[in-house]
């Protein structure tokens, strides 16, 4: 158990070290793409906490992503001299509040009902973003410039991509690691146990409604953080950030990567963004290919890419995993 734990921390450190070295190893174009991947990795991780861990299929996750994205843009435009941190904090506060309120409505329903309602709510937010031209820019969108980062003793120029990449790597990286840590905490375990047997949890003193609301709000805030960095990355936001397509995107990423493991969706974000970049160079109809890949996944490998990788690992002697389902494996110490 402890060696496994050490291995996990070592793995995280390795990924971070690799991330730090990246700007020296790859071209600007690819660094741009990598920044986008990191942002979407957090979005996918937040979605997986909802879908993979709590078993809640939402078609409205983009409302949090978009809310975060718009909050940063709107606040940077309307509040002169606002620092980047405060804009991000505002986005977090906003999505937390919205998550709590909408969650109160949405979580009264389960399964297909819940899925349908989240879609309706997302459409409402999209409609508001489209119509409220004065604030959101409507179809034109909003353009911003990244404010420089004042660390007290020095100022970091955010116009430089490499600098922004490092900030993203640290902030989003910490959020992802915290999400991973979260799955091992009391709350994270409560969510998993509820998916397994909600009724029993009630008779063990857990308020399952509150637990679900807390989780929903938490994943909303994480998606909001990802959305905030999405705006900062592109220095632009339009209503597409809050559209149902943005939910489809995260659903595809999560599902392609696999909902059974924590890191599957991160892999999914990686594969999705790269595929999107290359396929869209070749053909205008790349979403069609993504859709086909998705259907094949649902039909043939419901566990996603991470399922394939785990099955390959099982074939290697000495690296045998137990035959327990992957989600439960995540739950065990």
């Amino acid at each position: 158990m402890t060696s496994q734990k050490k291995a996990s921390y070592l793995f995280i450190a390795l990924i971070f070290a690799l991330g730090v070295l990246m700007p020296f190893m790859i071209k600007r174009y690819h660094l741009n793409m990598l920044t986008e991947i990191i942002v979407f990795a957090l979005y996918a991780v937040s979605y997986n906490l909802l879908l993979g861990y709590a078993g809640l299929l939402s078609f409205g996750h983009a409302m949090f992503f978009g809310m975060g994205a718009f909050t940063v843009a709107v606040s940077l435009i309307h509040i002169p001299g606002l620092s980047m941190w405060n804009a991000v904090l505002l986005a977090l506060a906003m999505t937390t509040v919205v998550g709590f309120i909408t969650g109160g409505f949405l979580l009264r329903h389960k399964g297909a009902y819940f899925a349908l309602l989240t879609l309706a709510f997302n459409s409402l937010f999209y409609a508001v973003a489209t119509k409220w031209h004065k604030i959101t820019g409507g179809d034109d969108g909003l353009s911003i410039t990244r404010p420089d980062l004042n660390l007290g003793f020095t100022t970091i120029k955010m116009a430089d991509l490499t600098n922004f990449y490092y900030v993203t790597l640290v902030v989003i990286g910490v959020a992802i690691v915290f999400s991973w840590y979260f799955t091992k905490t009391a709350m994270g375990q409560t969510v998993l146990l509820m998916r397994e047997n909600e009724e029993r949890m009630k008779f063990l003193g857990y308020n399952t409604n509150i637990s679900r609301l807390i989780l929903f709000t938490f994943t909303g805030a994480l998606a909001g953080l990802a959305g905030a960095f999405y705006t900062l990355h592109f220095q632009f936001v339009s209503q597409s950030a809050i559209s149902v397509d943005m939910t489809t995107t995260v659903l595809l990423m999560t599902f392609v990567g696999g909902t059974g493991t924590f890191w599957g969706p991160i892999l999914g974000a990686f594969v999705y963004i790269i595929l999107q970049n290359y396929l869209s160079d070749i053909t205008d109809r790349w979403p069609l290919f993504m859709g086909l890949i998705f259907i094949v996944m649902v039909l043939v490998i419901p566990g996603g890419l991470s399922q394939i990788i785990l099955s390959i690992r099982r074939l290697i002697p000495g690296k045998r995993n137990t035959d327990r389902p992957v989600a439960a494996e995540e739950a065990s110490p």
Partner: protein, 247 residues
């Protein structure tokens, strides 16, 4: 002196079907009460109402002077009430240890914490092990519940029920489906682990009832027919009629 658990005039209709028609009974502290009755008498429904799974159509439940009627299940559990299920209701994919720990950490207030891991809490893990030992599952602590034998699953069911350190324990047919030897073992285990607590048990097996209970209530057609010490119940004509069928 107020009674420990006091159930007054409980009625329960399921869309017109009257399952309970005015159940009245009281249990005093440390009492060991059995509820018996023919199939369909409403025993499990009564448990579901006491534990908060269903709301009663009318009537009240007082536990240590507090009215439970409007309180949800998790609040009742925190007040010291725990139940087991007739049909094994455990976390199948998790190990015995994790199953029991779910309640132990709830009892210790580690339910929704975003930062602390149950893994790192020595007190909780030790208490979990102790409960696993009490119900005789120490040897299989790290086996998933789905891989346990039937008897072991029933023991785990009781282990989970004990995990929140309840004062009042409701056991719903704990020995259902067990062999003779398993039943004998289960009786002595239940006797041991519920010592010093209040126990209400639903059972069909009269051996179990007579060896565990000091008071027996007979539930028949949704009401309590008789409540008394075991010897008197054994000789009660109305009870005999209820079981043998009176027309």
């Amino acid at each position: 002196m107020t009674d420990y658990l006091c159930i007054r005039e409980i009625h329960k209709d399921f869309s017109g079907l009257k399952v309970l028609t005015g159940v009245d009974f009281t249990v005093s502290e440390k009492q060991r009460q059995a509820v018996i009755g023919p199939n369909g008498a409403g025993k499990t429904t009564l448990f579901n109402i006491i534990s908060g799974r269903f709301k009663a159509s009318s009537g009240s439940i007082l536990f240590k002077g507090q009215d439970l009627s409007a309180k949800p299940a998790h609040v009742r559990n925190r007040l010291g009430l725990a139940r087991s299920f007739q049909i094994t209701n455990v976390f199948q994919e998790l190990t015995v240890f994790e199953n029991i720990r779910s309640g132990v950490r709830s009892r210790n207030g580690l339910r929704y914490n975003f930062f602390r891991k149950p893994d790192n809490n020595r007190r909780i893990n030790e208490r979990t092990e102790a409960i696993a030992e009490e119900v005789g599952l120490k040897g299989v602590m790290h086996v998933p519940a789905s891989a346990l034998s039937y008897g072991q699953q029933r023991a785990l069911e009781i282990g989970i029920t004990l995990s929140t350190e309840p004062e009042l324990i409701l056991l719903d047919e704990p020995t259902a489906g067990m062999t003779r030897e398993e039943t004998a073992q289960a009786i002595s285990m239940i006797d041991r682990v519920t010592a010093g607590r209040t126990l209400i048990i639903i059972e069909h097996d009269m051996d179990v009832v007579f060896s565990l209970a000091d008071t027996i209530s007979v539930l028949h057609y949704g009401r309590i027919l008789a409540s008394d010490v075991p010897e008197k119940i054994r000789n009660d004509q109305r009870v005999k009629d209820a079981y043998l069928g009176e027309e």
